[in-house]
Amino acid sequence: MSQEELVILIKKKDPRSFDYLYDMYADNLFGVIHTILKNKEESEDVLQEAFVKIWNNLDAYDDNKGRFFTWILNIARNLAIDKYRSKGFNNHKKNLSTENFVDIIKGSYSLNASTDAIGIKKFIKKLKPTCIKIIDLLFFKGFTQKEASEELDIPLGTVKTRNRACINELRNMLDN
C-alpha cells in the first residue's frame, strides 16, 4: 500500500488502518526515537505517545503541506526530544549529538527481526564518518542547518549540499 492510500484509509478511520499504520511505521519511528533516547523502555513509552498523537490528530494532517512521512517523523522526533530534555540533567541540544545511529546499529542491541543485521553493519561501515554525523544530526536529531553547521564546524552554506551528497551515497548503497 502506498503512503497516499494509507492516509485516505486512516482519515476514514477505517478500523484496519491502525494495523497498516503500525506495520508500516512502527519500526521506522522506533528507530528514530531510540536513536535519540538510547533507552528501550523510554523509547517504547514515547512510541506509544507518538502513535496516540498521530492517531488523534490525523485530521490536522494536510497532504498539501508536506509528506505524511515527514509529519509523523516530526511528531515522534519532537516527543523524543521533549522526553530527553525532561530528564533534566542534559538540557542542551548539543548533548544529543554524542551517540549516533551507527553506534546504535553497531551496538549490542538486538536489531529488528526483519533486518539482516550483518548486511546492514557492512554497508553502514562504508558511509563516511562526516556523512554519518550529518545525517544523524539533520534527520535523526532534527537539527536545523544552522545548528548542524555549528556542531560540525562547517559553513552554513555547505550543510545542505554535503547532506545531499551523503544521502546520495546512502541511496546507492541501499540500491545495491
Binding site: F18, Q48, V52, F69, L111, F139, Q145, I167, R171, L174
Partner: protein, 255 residues
C-alpha cells in the same frame, strides 16, 4: 529554478526531514505538483530514510502493538454528558459516580490489558514449544545413521535458495527441509522429484508440498521413495504437474 536545479540543491532532502521554513516548504510543494521528476526524487529520498531508520530500530516486541492499541481504545472512548438536572446534589452525585466509574473503568482496562498481554504471550510460548517439539521429533529421526543427507543447491531461478533431503533407503522415507526456499506465490506449490540420472534423466514426482504456508518448521515427510540418484524441487501450478517445469527448477542435488 528548474526542477533539476532544485534536485541538486539539496533542498528536497531538507523537505523530507521537515526542516524547511513554511515558505520554502510551499515552494517545493508547488514544484512537486508540476513536475513528476520532483515527486519521484522526494519519494526516493524518503524511501532511503525510511529504510535507514527502520534498520536502526532495535527489536520491537508485539507487546507494544497490543499496548498502543489498548491505549487508543481508552482515549477514543469518552463519557458523554447525558444527564441534565438542576439539583446540585444531583450533579455532585453524578460527578462522584463518574469518578468512581472512571476509576473502575481505568482499573478494568489495566487489568484487561495485562491479561491480554499475558495470554498473548502464553499462546505464543505454547506455539513455540509445540513447534520445537515437532522439530525435535524430526531431528531425532534423521539423526539415525540410516538417513543419507542430500544437499540441493539453488539453480538459475533462485540461486540463493537451498534445500536438504534426508533419505532412509531402508524404510524409503524422505524428509524434505525447505526452510531456505522463498515462499511460493499464490496458486503455486513446490513439487519434489526423485531423479534417475543414468542412463537417461527420468524425473518421478514423489510429492507436492501443498501445506507450505501453514507449515512453521518447513520440513515435510514423504513416504515410499525407493529409488533415486538425485532430487530436485520445482515450482508448479497448484496440484502439481505430470512432468517438472524445468524453467522453474529451484534446487537440485545428487545422492
Amino acid at each position: 529554478m528548474t526542477p533539476e536545479e532544485l534536485i541538486t540543491s539539496g533542498q528536497l532532502e531538507l523537505f523530507v526531514y521537515g526542516s524547511l521554513s513554511p515558505e520554502e516548504n510551499e515552494e517545493i510543494i508547488q514544484m512537486a505538483k508540476q513536475h513528476e521528476i520532483i515527486r519521484e526524487e522526494i519519494a526516493a529520498i524518503e524511501t532511503a530514510l525510511y529504510r535507514l531508520s527502520t534498520y536502526s530500530s532495535p527489536y520491537l516486541s508485539a507487546r507494544n502493538y497490543e499496548r498502543i492499541k489498548a491505549a487508543l481504545n481508552i482515549s477514543s472512548r469518552s463519557i458523554g454528558k447525558t444527564y441534565k438536572t438542576h439539583a446540585f446534589i444531583g450533579y455532585a452525585a453524578s460527578i462522584l459516580f463518574l469518578i468512581g466509574l472512571g476509576f473502575v473503568f481505568y482499573n478494568y482496562n489495566i487489568a484487561t490489558e495485562n491479561y491480554e498481554v499475558v495470554s498473548t504471550e502464553k499462546t505464543e510460548l505454547k506455539n513455540e514449544v509445540e513447534k520445537l517439539n515437532r522439530e525435535k521429533a524430526v531431528l531425532n529421526e534423521i539423526r539415525e545413521t540410516t538417513y543419507t543427507r542430500v544437499a540441493l543447491g539453488g539453480q538459475t531461478v533462485a540461486p540463493n535458495s537451498s534445500a536438504s533431503i534426508y533419505w532412509d533407503q531402508e524404510s524409503h522415507q524422505v524428509y524434505v527441509d525447505v526452510k531456505n526456499l522463498p515462499e511460493p506465490p499464490e496458486g503455486k506449490v513446490y513439487q519434489v522429484w526423485s531423479l534417475q540420472l543414468e542412463p537417461a534423466l527420468v524425473p518421478t514426482s514423489i510429492g507436492v508440498l501443498d501445506g507450505y504456508v501453514n507449515s512453521d518448521i518447513k520440513i515435510f515427510k514423504i513416504d515410499n521413495v525407493t529409488e533415486a540418484q538425485g532430487f530436485g524441487i520445482t515450482l508448479e501450478p497448484e496440484g502439481g504437474s505430470e512432468t517438472p517445469t524445468l524453467t522453474q527448477l529451484y534446487t537440485l542435488g545428487k545422492v
